[in-house]
């Protein structure tokens, strides 16, 4: 199972990972349209910043995933290729997954009242955050 890792030492806090994640999960996948004319999805990547330190954090797609084990609806599930996704049709926004994720990698989508997280860009060989990180701070290995 390949995962996204971050090299904190070279993360420059530009947040392009978030921007490309939003575009990838938008309706049109056109960066200008996605930002200007469409409802903006929450990015699945979360950038933490404090002073000069910054890093991007994505779901680890744990082997022993507490979010999947704890999900009260079955929305949080592991696909056959190992990635964990949240089926927002089934999610009711109880935030149990947020309570158990030891990385704090799941977000509350307050508009849609569902959990939002990284899906490793279904259909892409390399997640777009990794592909577009200008400083190669993200790796997919």
């Amino acid at each position: 199972m390949r995962r996204i890792y971050v090299k904190e030492d070279v993360c420059i806090g530009c947040r392009l990972c978030e921007i490309y994640c939003i575009v990838q999960h938008s309706k049109s996948k056109n960066i200008i349209k996605a930002f200007r004319n469409e409802p903006r999805p929450l990015p699945g990547v979360l950038v933490e910043e404090k002073g000069p330190i910054s890093f991007a954090l994505q779901c680890r797609h744990c082997d022993d995933a507490p979010c999947v084990e704890s999900c009260i609806t079955g929305a949080m599930q592991r696909l056959e290729d190992g990635r964990i996704i949240c089926d927002i049709e089934r999610c009711v926004g109880c935030w149990t997954c947020i309570m158990v994720c030891p990385y704090g990698a799941i977000r509350r989508d307050q508009n849609r009242k569902v959990a939002s997280k990284c899906d490793l860009c279904i259909g892409e060989d390399i997640p777009v955050c990794v592909k577009n990180c200008p400083n190669e701070a993200l790796t997919y290995e």
């Binding site: 420059i12 806090g13 392009l16 490309y20 200008i32 200008p134 400083n135 190669e136």
Partner: protein, 502 residues
């Protein structure tokens, strides 16, 4: 006081493309871009823009164009905008004007007046894709004569002085940790290791993390003697005594205290937060004899196992001084021309002191040959080498190898904004700000530098192959391969080359 100096750049934002992602806001170290939440708009304070192009490069929608747009002064033949704005600045500050990078004044660039030869019909050219080509270069004192014992097997009896072995005749110039970031130093070090050449510590000492990679390091001993210790001297592959620098001949260096952070203070062996002042002269060198003493003191320390060289700025009497250095025991001489770069120098010095490296090189090579001591020391030249053709021309003029500084930094992302001295390098190169230094990922930096060296190696092989030469050694000092265009008789004479057509 109202400043009469306006910004030099205009920031053009295509509002149809701008998505308010704020990458520009986050990336500008000069706080040019500011987001106004109320209006959902980004305002740009152009007066602070230095034209580094960081925002324009990272903007995901290409919404930003930074245009050079200096104030249009009423210039005349004597009074240029350059002079007017400098006077305004000095009238406002009362201080010496500082600048970064190399001399940008329109003094003649002789490389651009020299053309290379190529083989036609009578001496076939060589295709580097099909035949082996050699760029390998050895730097160090070469013996006057080789004493070989004849017999079943030839045995070299002459003891050869220590040599530096380079896989291509290019080294990375002295750039101290302090003037550039540790990530930049690491990039240079790793690239030098991979490419089989050397980088130079400058006068910043050798960071503890890099001691173990000393085999591709030239350690410098400058007038401030920062970080110099027997361990340091022995950690490198060679030692270079720095007398002068092309960007600021005759003056010392100054790393302001605010840049002397913990790791720099440790590396330089000075108190944290204190200014690192390199005196203009070495206070123990007032003559060639004094220099000889230092050279041999250093050689003693490193047990004569590695070459010791001397670096000077190219000035009017460089040829005579070089003769002295070669006689004083320098295994290599590094010459830094008027266009050599710097992290910080007084503008007036950078723009007016020194001589072009091409002329200095030609005259020194000539002088050492005439005196029969050209083999005493190798010649490394520096100061404004921009391309593989500059290198080939330098070698044909008599250089053994070249140092590249600015070119290396440009490969790392430098956009030549000349604001190194502010410490706010947006590309993470000439800065110690931890927020900015991260921007230079040493893995990427290494890759870019190695790519540049590989590209130049391939081009150099094409050029010498075209001349019918298969080893760079055969081109060294081969001025017949050069012809000049648009020069004066005196310049031809100094350069030792013929005009094109002759």
């Amino acid at each position: 006081m109202l400043s009469l100096c306006k910004g030099e750049f205009s920031v053009e934002r295509d509002d149809d493309r701008c998505i308010r992602c704020l990458v520009c806001v986050r990336q500008c170290p000069s706080d040019v871009h500011k987001y106004d939440e109320e209006e959902d708009r980004i305002y740009s304070d152009e007066s602070e823009c230095v034209g580094c192009q960081r925002c324009a490069t990272l903007c995901p929608t290409d919404a930003i164009t930074i245009r050079y747009k200096p104030m249009e002064m009423k210039e005349n033949a004597n009074w240029k905008t350059y002079h007017l704005t400098n006077i305004y600045k000095q009238a406002e500050t009362g201080g010496i004007l500082l600048t970064g990078m190399g001399n940008d004044k329109p003094y003649p660039i002789y490389w651009d007046h020299i053309l290379l030869n190529a083989s036609q019909v009578t001496n076939p050219s060589i295709d580097p894709l099909r035949e082996p080509m050699e760029l390998r270069t050895y730097l160090g004192r070469k013996p006057d004569l080789l004493d070989i014992e004849d017999g079943d097997e030839l045995i070299l009896k002459t003891e050869i002085s220590p040599q530096l072995k380079l896989e291509l005749p290019v080294l990375f110039s002295a750039m101290s940790y302090g003037s550039i970031s540790l990530n930049a130093v690491k990039s240079l070090e790793r690239a030098a290791t991979i490419a089989g050449t050397y980088y130079n510590t400058g006068e910043g000492g050798l960071h503890k993390d890099l001691h173990k990679y000393g085999k591709n390091t030239i350690v410098q001993c400058a007038s401030g003697r920062f970080g110099v210790s027997p361990d340091y001297l022995n950690a490198g592959a060679a030692v270079e005594i720095k007398i002068g620098q092309g960007a600021k001949p005759g003056i010392g260096g100054h790393l302001p205290g605010e840049k002397v952070l913990e790791e720099i203070s440790e590396t330089r062996m000075i108190v944290e937060g204190t200014d690192a002042l390199s005196p203009a002269p070495h206070h123990d060198i007032y003559s060639i004899e004094d220099l000889r003493q230092l050279i041999f003191a250093l050689k003693e320390t490193i047990a004569y196992e590695k070459p010791v060289g001397v670096k000077i700025a190219a000035v009017h009497n460089s040829a005579a001084i070089s003769s002295g250095m070669a006689r004083a025991g320098a295994d290599f001489i590094a010459l830094d021309g008027v266009r050599g770069g710097t992290g910080a120098a007084p503008l007036v010095t950078r723009d007016n002191v020194g001589i072009p490296i091409e002329l200095a090189l030609a005259s020194i090579d000539q002088r050492l040959r005439e005196e029969g001591i050209r083999n005493n020391a190798s010649l490394i030249i520096a100061g404004g080498i921009r391309s593989s053709s500059d290198i080939i021309k330098a070698i044909a003029l008599g250089a053994d190898a070249v140092y590249i500084g600015t070119a290396a930094l440009v490969a790392l992302g430098c956009h030549l904004c000349q604001k190194c001295y502010t410490g706010k390098c947006a590309w993470g190169i000439a800065t110690q700000d931890p927020y900015l230094t991260k921007r230079l990922n040493p893995e990427i930096g290494t890759r870019r530098l190695v790519n540049l060296l590989n590209a130049w190696s391939n081009e150099m092989k094409e050029l010498i192959g075209g001349m019918g030469i298969n080893a760079i050694e055969s081109l060294r000092g081969n001025r017949l391969q050069l012809r000049g265009v648009g020069l004066t008789d005196t310049e031809y004479k100094i350069l030792g080359i013929l005009p094109a057509g002759e």
